[in-house]
Symmetry: C2
Subunit: 115 residues, 2 copies
């Protein structure tokens, strides 16, 4: 199980912000594929971590972190990932935005509270 | 009401990725402040949009988009926002990551489906 908050190396590194709204089509197939993609991404060269949430209203945000743009390009063209992208466009996503970003600065809080 | 997916202007623009895990403290106070901050942010110079989700497990991702780094700095130092940040660190967040990014490329799908 991943930690929910990713803690990559020092900036600069890169982020892919994927924001999406699901259709109501094939939720089980979608869940299985989403889990598979998280697992597969984590084994790619240059992968630094991921943070992913989906709300009850169907809006989801997944941010994955990468060492460089080349790692992102390679993952984008991974054969199994290409199939997932195609299915996503064909049936799972009503709408999405994909943004490729360079992380310039980061800052963390960890309250180390027991609660 | 905002659109759930932000559709800012052409890159480059800037994104603030705020990923957080809530404590169980004061959920009503938190909700009210979070709504107030979304509303206030939207009226700042350079604001381009926001996307925000919180999952049932308490993990949340909010990505706000800005024209430039200067707009982000100004928002960061807004007096009411400073108070919210302080309360956030003191009681509402167990853990967070804040990342400031330059969006290099973006890509959208809108299936225009009726479903």
């Amino acid at each position: 199980m991943n930690e929910p908050l990713a803690a990559p190396s020092l900036p600069p590194y890169f982020a892919v912000i994927f924001t999406s709204i699901r259709t109501a089509v094939d939720p089980a197939g979608y869940e299985a594929m989403a889990a598979r993609m998280l697992d597969l991404a984590a084994r790619q060269p240059g992968y630094l971590g991921v943070e992913s949430v989906r709300g009850d209203d169907g809006l989801g945000i997944t941010v994955s972190y990468w060492r460089d743009l080349d790692s992102i390009e390679q993952w984008r063209h991974n054969a199994e990932h290409l199939t997932a992208q195609q299915l996503g466009r064909a049936k799972w996503y009503r709408q999405y935005q994909l943004r490729i970003c360079r992380v310039e600065r980061d800052h963390a809080l960890d309250c180390a509270c027991s609660e």
